[in-house]
């Protein structure tokens, strides 16, 4: 595009004689042939896979859907179709225990609200319009509200954290884990590249130590050792310890992901920002990080997804997260114990929905910013 050419010359070009307006386009049959039957080997492979799917799919669908027991049915109904149909009745039967575990039954509307709150908070934060100074305030309100609803007081019946469980616990660990680990990781990533030796050394130590050990050991340490570092008489509840352990652990990983993004931003960008007189934090916040984070969207969301699923490890320090609540809900009932697989599939579906939502959001963010590069 030559700057000197008037706009009319650009838009009003007449098509050259003899050339069609569109590039030649392959028809549907040709494209199918190219995709599935391009060579004898492709043809054999295609036919074999189609045959395998055709052989397995009806049975699978029968078990999952058509012969399955749906709705509120007794265990005896499941027993009748055992081996032929799935027992989704177990999910209906144990739903409350799976979702809220040992939380007092009459108060379970509270963790129910917390689930809604903890879904709304990230959805709100994912909206680029919300990326301003008010967002941290929204989070503070969200955290206070969640802990009030869960823990009670101020007019609500107190429920000690030892009775919390199920999906709200998983969501608390995940959402607040992401909410705190992300800003912390930003500071660690910047700290690792800082010109100040003390800041750099501390950041490197944090990242390398926590990245070098399994999350389970960090959880154990948080559970056992926390008490030793705390002043006598001050006890921190188990859930908060797990929360802190997850945050410091994930922040170490995330910091390296962000650092990768930072390294992909050309030096000229820093220089142009400096030459315009932008001080360090403005340069980082307005010029460097927006580009670095955009580059690092896929691995950042990858870390978030891993965090969501890794919260199920808190079971090792006796916290009743969602995965464990689902397992326990059927294990402890002789009548329903046999339908463990169905319960497990249900919990997998819940995790998958969360992860897939994050994955789609990541794709959307990437495409949204595609025009700017």
């Amino acid at each position: 595009m030559k700057p000197s050419s008037p706009p009319a010359a650009r838009s009003g070009q007449a098509p050259r004689p003899g050339s069609s307006a569109r590039p030649p386009h392959a028809g549907v049959p040709a494209r199918i042939r190219a995709a599935f039957f391009a060579s004898p080997r492709d043809t054999v492979l295609t036919l074999a896979l189609v045959a395998a799917i055709a052989a397995m799919l009806p049975g699978l669908l029968d078990w999952l859907v058509f012969d399955a027991v749906w709705g509120a049915q007794p265990a005896s109904a499941c027993e009748a179709v055992r081996g032929e149909g799935a027992c989704w009745a177990v999910v209906r039967e144990k739903f409350r225990v799976m979702m809220f575990a040992t939380y007092p039954f009459d108060e379970q509307w509270r963790p129910g609200l917390v689930i809604l709150l903890l879904v709304a908070l990230p959805v709100l934060s994912a909206w680029p319009r919300m990326w301003n100074a008010a967002l941290p305030a929204v989070w503070v309100v969200g955290i206070l509200l969640a802990y009030w609803l869960m823990g009670g007081g101020l007019g609500l019946v107190p429920v000690p954290a030892s009775q919390w469980g199920g999906l709200p616990v998983t969501l608390i660990l995940t959402i607040f884990g992401i909410g705190f680990a992300f800003p912390l990781a930003l500071l660690l990533a910047l700290g690792r590249r800082s010109g100040l030796p003390v800041v750099r050394a501390l950041s490197i130590t944090w990242i390398e130590v926590l990245r070098g050990v399994p999350l389970i050991t960090v959880l154990f340490m948080a559970s056992v050792m926390f008490a030793l570092f705390m002043p006598a008489g001050l006890s921190v509840d188990q859930l908060l310890r797990a929360q802190v352990a997850i945050i410091v652990f994930v922040a170490a990983y995330l910091a390296e992901v962000i650092r990768g993004g930072l390294q992909a931003v050309p030096r000229g960008q820093y220089e142009a920002a400096k030459a315009l007189g932008l001080p360090y934090w403005r340069m980082m916040g307005l010029v460097v990080l927006p580009q670095a984070l955009r580059i690092a969207i896929p691995p950042i969301v990858n870390s978030f997804i891993a965090l969501f699923k890794d919260t199920s490890l808190v079971v090792v320090i006796a916290i009743f997260d969602f995965a464990y609540a689902v397992k326990k809900s059927v294990e402890t009932d002789v009548e329903w114990k046999k339908y463990f697989v169905e319960a497990l599939l249900f919990s997998m579906l819940v995790y998958w929905i969360g992860c897939y939502a994050m994955s789609r959001y990541s794709r959307w963010l990437e495409q949204r910013s595609a025009g700017a590069r």
Binding site: A275, L276, G277, L278
Partner: protein, 246 residues
Amino acid sequence: MDAPAVLIQGLEKWFGDFQALRSVDLEVARGERIVVCGPSGSGKSTLIRCINRLEVHERGRIVVEGVELDDDLRNIDTIRARVGMVFQQFNLFPHLTVLENCTLAPTWVRRLPRREADARALALLERVRIVDQAGKYPGQLSGGQQQRAAIARALCMEPSIMLFDEPTSALDPEMVKEVLDTMMALAGDGMTMIVVTHEMGFARAVADRVVFMDEGEIVEIAPPAQFFAAPAHERTRRFLGQILAH
């Protein structure tokens, strides 16, 4: 104020063991147009990058409009806000539109209200004749348009001194002229300019003095007429012979 725009005394700069600048002295008056030329690696880019402290000098003094460049961060910020810079690779911010590129520093450094910053940016984009591209991202512009946008971005901070670091070297030949025309218009307005370039035609037409550098030192400073007609040093003659031969 009678202080010169830029005063450089005994400037020395090393990259590791390599000495990039050797006791450079240069005084630039207000409104003066200086063209710095020399073979690659001669230290000319390093010299102007020291003036807004993108490079830190090891010895000597740099005083910009009476403010000394030392380790005092406030002085550095003061000077950077007064000195605009244009880079060989444009270095526009790719995640912002052309207009946002131009208003970023005025709103965040100068604290200009949004509307004023927009008005100023649009006026300057008009001046470099790309106001119709204001809503586009840098990646959608030609090289020449990007460089003119970069000039407008620097001018939005209302600098009193402009540094140009080989502004046309990364451009396709047919786009060099539009950028040079923009720079000449700027020179006509009385802006203090220090330009590192190989465009000898520009030097002849615009420069008050031409500085020739080689191996980290200033070999010769002369008005263009004298510089091109009767260079005093053998090294200058050899360089001009090479660069003007074709």
